[in-house]
């Protein structure tokens, strides 16, 4: 029973990170219909920037995260301007290939700048809390709480503010958004910004429990894709729910099925879902 509880908590931690990453991905997909394969690279860059600021400027962990999410947000915006904006009238294949190009570039770039070795990110929140046999480290608690807070904030932003509503409006009808006076370029940039912020936040939060290295984004991004398909591409609640579904199924799967195959579980889940419903589970009918 204890194991189950501990594994549920483990699933919650990792699910929170997945959700954050998937949220950014789904946001960009919902608005611009771009499956941004480079999102995982933003995740990795986010971790490196936090790390660099902590080690070279000696800033506090939290301040470093703040700087990093802004920086990655900017990089993400830059990517929109330089790559996806010029491609806005192109075919889906072109979007995907362009995104893959960016992914390859960013990864190589990270290795050039930071080297290929593992970096260790210190956290001031190393304390271990033990509640009745359940081990919770402060860092993990922070991951879960920050993720939930970030999601709530994002929800409120999208639902309760005008600027947030413009993002939703544009996702639903681009020209309609134009016609009410929304600067769609700005919204596209804002969306990419938020997406970058979420990726960097997810990465900066997890890095202290693992390490920072150039290929750290690979699997996370693959899983984020699985999540947004399960959750319905473009759906915000779907991404959150999907993140936790994958997080839990991995930790529980590793316990009761096989830890060697825990990665396969999420992919198999996706294949099964798409086999039954080629449009994903939360998608509405039609094309």
């Amino acid at each position: 029973m204890d194991v189950l509880l501990q594994q549920l908590f483990n699933g919650l931690t990792i699910g929170s990170v997945y959700s954050l990453v998937a949220l950014g991905l789904t946001l960009v997909y919902g608005i611009l219909h771009i499956p941004n394969f480079a999102h995982g690279a933003l995740y990795m860059v986010g971790a490196y920037i936090t790390y660099t600021i902590m080690t070279s400027l000696g800033l506090h962990y939290l301040l470093s995260i703040l700087t990093s999410i802004i920086a990655v947000g900017m990089i993400s915006v830059l990517m929109e301007r330089l790559v996806f904006h010029p491609l806005k009238d192109s075919t889906p294949i072109q979007h995907k290939v362009a995104a893959i190009g960016m992914l390859l570039f960013l990864e190589s770039f990270a290795q050039l700048i930071w080297g290929a070795d593992y970096q260790q990110m210190e956290t001031p929140f190393g304390q271990v809390i033990d509640f009745f046999g359940l081990t919770v480290t402060m860092q993990r608690l922070i991951i879960v709480i920050t993720a939930v807070v970030a999601m709530i904030l994002l929800y409120l932003f999208l639902k309760k503010t005008f600027t947030g509503a413009t993002i939703i409006a544009m996702a639903q009808n681009r020209e309609g958004a134009h016609l009410v006076g929304i600067n769609t370029n700005k919204v596209a940039m804002l969306t990419f910004f938020i997406s970058g912020v979420l990726a960097a936040l997810g990465a900066s939060l997890t890095s202290p429990i693992n390490l920072v290295f150039p290929s750290m984004g690979h699997l996370v991004i693959l899983k984020a894709f699985v999540i947004i398909i399960i959750g319905g591409m473009g759906s915000i609640p779907g991404a959150i729910l999907g993140g936790y579904i994958i997080g839990f199924s991995e930790s529980i799967g590793a316990t009761y099925i096989s830890s060697d195959y825990s990665d396969i579980i999420s992919f198999a889940l996706l294949v099964i879902i798409l086999t039954i419903k080629p449009q994903g589970i939360f998608s509405k009918g039609g094309v």
Binding site: Q172, E175, A177, H178, V180
Partner: protein, 235 residues
């Protein structure tokens, strides 16, 4: 107030409108007539900044606007209610309306006031304010599209075939509403297939054919014009 001077617009190699001149004065209702594909919507898209003219100029109160992005043009007081409505289908009616007031987003109180006014004009919308826009009937959606446009308190409103898909009764109401809106100070440029109804409320009109304006004149003149009667009004 609005001037189109020798405007031509292309889609790829295809010239949709050629050398068009249109003038709309403050407080007027001006109607554009013409068959499907004659170029009315293209004219609207050009005014709204969704298309850039290939030749010619668009002026709003002597201010060149043909190279401005759509959002700037909305800010200057021109709002379009497009042919296919372009609503946000999964947002509620009220959210759609609020988005219409996007350019006034800082003035919360004023928005509330406008919202009340629009609901008064279209009470159905008030009843349905919590429903997603996509669930409304065609006619209701059309009202919502107009309502959303009104939310921005435009100086000039472009209405592209507002009577499309509406039952005759509603069409009558709609034209009433347009008259009403105009009386309250909004200048209106209207494209219509329903030429009779449109000319009845309009001050003047332009007739399109294949991207050219072939006839123009006051409503009276157009009503009197034999060709126009035959082609667009019938009998």
């Amino acid at each position: 107030m609005l001037d189109l001077k020798n405007v031509s617009v292309k889609y790829g190699n295809f010239t949709a409108i050629k050398d068009i001149n249109i003038r709309v004065d403050k407080g007027e209702i001006v109607v554009l007539l013409g068959a499907n594909g004659a170029g009315k919507s293209t004219t609207f898209r050009t005014i709204s900044g969704l298309k850039t003219p290939f030749k010619g100029n668009v002026l709003l109160e002597d201010d060149l606007i043909d190279n401005k992005p759509p959002d700037k043009i909305v800010k200057q007081g021109i709002v379009q209610c497009a042919e296919d409505r372009k609503l946000f289908p999964e947002m509620s009616v009220q959210e759609n309306m609020m988005m219409g007031a996007y350019i006034h987003r800082k003035k919360k109180n004023k928005i509330k006031q406008t919202l009340k006014e629009v609901y008064k004009l279209f009470p159905v919308l008030y009843e349905k304010r919590k429903n997603p826009a996509g669930s409304l009937s065609g006619g209701q959606q059309q009202m919502l599209a107009i309502g959303r446009a009104l939310m921005s308190k435009p100086k000039l409103m472009l209405l592209d075939e507002p009577s499309i898909g509406l039952a005759p009764l509603i069409v009558e109401q709609m034209f009433e509403s347009i008259k009403q809106i105009n009386k309250e100070g909004t200048t209106i440029l209207l494209a219509e297939q329903n030429a009779h109804a449109a000319l009845s409320i309009a001050d003047k009109g332009y007739v399109y054919e294949n991207g050219n304006i072939v006839v123009e004149g006051s409503s009276k003149e157009l009503f009197a014009n034999e060709e126009v009667r035959k082609a667009y009004i019938g009998a």
